[in-house]
Symmetry: C2
């Protein structure tokens, strides 16, 4: 078994559970009437170990890579879109550029393996392992060394963000073809049939979806399934997925609030979860993606998506939008009046 | 038939539909991949009649009243909570006080019929018709004159907000006992059995829910169902519900963006819809409430709730939170880069 160096993810501060719940129940409202926002507020408080949590300097890491599996015709989009969109995002464009401005994130594009030489940019982090993961129909997507390097890169980037004072980290991705590794990882790590893990991605026809399933099925047959989750990530993953998985593990170790996005970032969470299950305790599932496999991932890790807006864009867009709900939940815990403060008849005592 | 004076609600600007859709489809993303946010952006544009809509000075009207139907034991809460919470809200407290600060609304508490004499307050609007609606088990909740007065009060308040430059209006409510008139209106206006329209409200036991259903059933049997929607509103409604219904109708006439909240405000929308169906074209359904009848209302008017967070608080809380999604949707339409601007390969042309 391969493990990551010096990675310790602690339990949530369950010893505060009663205090946090009491504080929520003293707010001027019927008990439980703010539904998921109460659950979210509580989880943030348990992560931070305080009844007065704060959200500081939210960072969005949109991690990008290319995928040689595209040679098998698994995506309808030209692979040039990966680098073109990265440039677009760095300059504040695209869905994630806009939503980071709108919902208050510092956005960094992380180049984990894009097949392009970017000029330096203040919103670009260079963490390129190689130009694109390998065609996993024929060979593992990454060597074990490449995969471990990507995991460590993710950890390193997140650690730096934590050191700069961020305690909220959203993950997004950009990588033409990356629904194929995400579907493969779901099948391999979740134990689901390949057919139930594939979908149209950014716009495949039903025929294209069948072809994608066939390619993934052949690859799994060729490489087999390992008892080692990192080995599986190397065989079937992608450089952005491994980098995100490492980032998520480090974020949990740093007790940060993690926000996962759609199908690809949640496949990274699935890989991280296979390495260290406690990572999920620190994670908020931003939304329910339209890609059918996403629901399987969320259910497998017993997550509860905050939004269900029919998104299938990725990039971190769902994570950015969902943050507005997380922020409101924490504000509720900190600033909403209690029965005592407001001199309102306490219904919490009568029910 | 009773109609409201000088009320004209025009069609949406459907002539712009193609232009708006084209603008959305030229954004750097796969077509349709921002799901509901694309639908929301389009609806705002159709309301305002421009491909560059703007959201100005959002106002939340939390309309309050008491209900003499509480004498029949239909609520577990003391009626004093109505006025106590109104004071709490005016001073920025409670769920709605907090969320208005958090999500950027000017909050006004509208006294439509609270059984209390409020001192003047900058965030209070006095529109009291009488102290509480009547016990509709024995007599109509309002006389026709009272009901029309409440409708006109709502119209007048909203007209003033529009004149002050607001083009977004959220509706909330406060009124112990008001799930009873809301359930009655749903049954009468939607044609559903009373049993399928009632729920626990702020915390009734199953026995209490049955009792509430029995009271409502007896009242409908006593007063009967009128072909005139205003007559039905007078018989089974409440002063806050009628005031909100009037406010919604005027907001649609003013081409404002209307945000409805939970079970009670949506019962007001149902009444407004019975008077003038086009009001729904101007309305965003903020969220799916936990109260079972709410889903029936939403489906009856073919609405699509933006959020599903398990709220059952009312006050306008869901409307305030959902506004963050509406705002992001409009920002997407106005500011997200197009393929041309970003020099990204245009997938919209290849699909």
């Amino acid at each position: 078994m391969n493990t990551l160096k010096n990675l310790t993810i602690q339990d949530l501060h369950h010893e505060l559970e009663k205090d946090i719940q009491h504080k929520i129940d003293q707010k001027t409202k019927p008990i439980g009437s703010l539904g998921q926002m109460e659950r979210i507020a509580k989880q943030v408080a348990l992560i931070q170990g305080t009844t007065k949590p704060t959200l500081k300097k939210p960072v969005m890491l949109t991690v990008a890579s290319d995928h040689d599996i595209c040679n098998e015709g698994v995506s309808p989009c030209p692979t040039e879109i990966t680098w073109q969109q990265c440039l677009n995002f760095m300059n504040g464009g695209g869905g994630i550029g806009l939503f980071c401005q709108e919902y208050g994130f510092d956005l960094y594009v992380v180049d984990a393996g894009v097949n392009y030489d970017f000029p330096p940019h203040p919103h670009l982090i260079d963490a390129k392992v190689r130009k694109g993961s390998r065609n996993f129909l024929h060979e593992p997507a990454m060597t074990m060394n490449e995969c471990k390097q990507a995991l460590e890169n993710g950890r390193h980037i997140v650690k730096e963000m934590a050191q700069k004072g961020s305690n909220v980290i959203g993950f997004g991705e950009m990588g033409i073809g990356n629904t194929s590794p995400a579907s493969a990882l779901l099948s391999v790590l979740g134990g689901f049939s390949v057919e139930s893990c594939v979908g149209p991605g950014s716009g495949l026809t039903p025929h294209g979806v069948n072809h994608k399933a066939h390619v993934i099925q052949s690859a799994i047959k060729k490489h087999g399934i390992s008892p080692d989750p990192i080995e599986n990530l190397a065989r079937f993953g992608g450089l952005e997925i491994a980098t995100i998985a490492g980032g998520m593990l480090e974020a949990a170790a740093q007790r940060m609030v993690i926000i996962t996005d759609g199908f690809i970032t949640t496949s990274a969470l699935l890989a991280a979860h296979a390495i260290h299950p406690k990572v999920v305790d620190y994670t908020f599932f931003a939304h329910q993606s339209e890609e059918q496999g996403h629901k399987k991932m969320v259910d497998f890790m017993q997550g509860e998506p905050i939004l269900n807006l029919g998104f299938r864009l990725g990039e971190g867009t769902g994570a950015a939008v969902a943050y507005s709900i997380i922020k409101g939940s924490v504000a509720m815990l900190n600033r909403m009046t209690s029965f005592d403060e407001a001199e309102v008849f306490n219904t919490a005592n009568t029910q």
